[in-house]
Symmetry: C2
Subunit: 363 residues, 2 copies
């Protein structure tokens, strides 16, 4: 890989959530959170199953009450990826979640008192449960808000460092840290600051990032800037909508930065007045047919000959449009001309052939 | 504004495209490109009108042939924003576009010879037409490709610098530069490099970035990283789809980085198992009703009380869900409780009231 494509990651210590390593040089872990009612065990298991299929590696569920905490036992039985309980306000619920077999918990020091956190740490320590200290600008402690005049980066960092001290004081080091804000500049500045002050793995996210388009922009900028600087060990893209889309956007971010190459990378031009084929329809159809594909492949779908052959040459498989015709490229070589109406089918055949050939070589 | 929110922009010289200043401390200009057949004057004017409504400040059209070059005269008559002709291969078309009254042209040094570029420069100089040197990884000169072994950042930069020398040699300085690649890491590295070597304004973009979700991720990362470092004077988000969405994503990127505050910023949570209202439907409905709004406003739509009141307090207007009820916040104060079925209407009333009050104060 060329030098400019390589990101030097900041060294953090490894922490384990179940069997998933976070930090310490492990690949950046993709996680998500269910939007089901956690008390509805069946719906929650079903959603986590869909998250697993989408490549999600850690699943978090909200635990707002006793019944939700009790359902963790049954949820845990029927899922493959580690389970994390998201707890606010109540150390009782946190301890119950730990006893019910979760692999990690996320607590927010802003809404659980210091003494009660110690009880949680004891319970987690006994059962090897990792804890994320999840500081959030929207629920920062009053002391920090008044000291800093608002949820500033320094306020978020001080809140986290204060909590870390409590954990370390009890000999507990299985910690991840997040410092989320809905303001991307605040979030970026906060993670940069804490990255200099601690080597616990960092969970990156822009909180309350909105629906899919809104979050794609905000999460890509916030998480993208930090990952590009080598900061971050696990990411969660927060979207108001189906959490499966969170895993999709997360992998797109990682793929864009050449950090993890999962899924097809479709290079397609905006189809200007020079375009000679119905590119919009073509791209839509190809995207639909490739949904769920895990193999990395660079596929160029280009409307004309200006950048078409150049891009197609850099791609694994590509087409460049002509009048009702497309040129099919593979590894930089023109294979043949294809009629527009057959382009998608021929392209899919080539992609499937490429996947099959890679599998054969891997055997 | 807090210090961490302020981006120090790199100084560039001002260049004018019609009456729009690019660089030299001007606000970052949002531009787009039509996907109509430029020879279809009516359709092109109609699309540029929609781009103007979406806040687009410069419009580019492809000029692949003589008829397209001739239609520029009539397109120019019926649009409000400056017009840029996108030219490949032919210096004849570039000169014809200049004579037909465009405000700027974009040429690609990779596919027009040096001697022919001089003829274009002469014509542009006579009529005060700005020229973008639009280097593209997909159509780089063969010499550069073989010297660098591919379209590397250094190859893109050398291609641009070679062209700049030709322009300067003729006393022409009304130049913008772009170095696009469909590979975000290459694009970021290339712009960083050239930003140290020239003070001409830079046009940022990730080329062939795919359809809306794909481009939202790639463009946000590539353009976002650079803007956050103070690099860039005008941006184009390239999307395979309706160009109006390009302006929308561009403004989202600028808003996320607090660079230009245009349009509503909707903060909404992912609606976990703690959520007590139908937040997905609510967010979708609010987004639909606010489509096209130009006023900047931070609107928090939160599912529960964990971060709800905190986020709502930081927003201009916000709601935090309860059981079938929402708390309405304005500038951090709870105004009243509203039944879920009335939430959207009440929220819209408040937003409209806020817009009206701002307009009154501005008078």
């Amino acid at each position: 890989m060329m030098e400019h494509l390589t990101i030097k990651r900041k060294k953090t210590r490894p922490v384990y959530v179940g069997d998933v390593q976070v930090g310490g040089g492990a690949p950046i872990v993709v996680q998500s959170m269910t939007c089901t009612d956690t008390r509805d065990v069946k719906a929650t298991i079903e959603q986590i199953g869909r998250l697993e299929d989408a490549g999600c590696e850690l699943a978090r569920v909200a635990v707002p009450d006793r019944e939700a905490a009790q359902s963790l036992v049954n949820i845990k039985k029927d899922i493959k990826i580690p389970l994390i309980a998201d707890i606010h306000f109540s150390h009782i619920l946190a301890i119950e979640a730990i006893k019910n077999g979760v692999d990690g918990i996320r607590i927010n020091p802003g809404n659980i008192g210091k003494e009660k956190i110690r009880e949680i740490i004891s319970a987690a320590g006994e059962r090897d449960v990792a804890i994320r200290i999840g500081v959030n600008a929207g629920s920062l402690e009053k002391e920090m808000l008044s000291k800093y005049g608002g949820p500033t980066p320094a306020a978020l960092v001080e809140s986290a460092l204060n909590s870390i001290a409590v954990f370390e004081d009890m000999g507990f080091y299985s910690i991840k840290v997040s410092l989320k804000s809905s303001d991307v500049a605040t979030m970026v500045a906060a993670y940069r600051l804490i990255s200099d002050k601690t080597d616990y793995p960092l969970h990156l996210g822009v909180t309350e990032a909105g629906s899919i388009i809104s979050s794609s922009v905000k999460s890509s900028i916030g998480i993208g800037i930090l990952l590009y600087e080598g900061i971050g060990d696990t990411i969660r893209v927060s979207i108001t909508g189906d959490p499966v889309t969170e895993a999709d956007i997360a992998y797109r971010i990682l793929r864009t930065l050449n950090i993890r190459r999962v899924g097809p990378d479709i290079i397609s031009c905006p189809a200007c007045g020079r375009c000679e084929i119905d590119l919009f329809r073509l791209v839509e159809e190809v995207e639909k047919r490739l949904a769920g594909m895990k193999e990395y492949m660079k596929i160029a779908l280009m409307g004309c000959v200006v950048n078409g052959p150049g891009e197609a040459a850099e791609a694994d498989i590509g087409i460049a449009g002509g009048r009702g015709l497309g040129m099919l490229f593979k590894k930089g070589e023109v294979i043949r001309k294809v009629k527009e109406e057959n382009l998608v089918d021929v392209l899919m055949d080539e992609i499937e052939g490429e996947v099959a050939s890679r599998r054969k070589h891997a055997e």
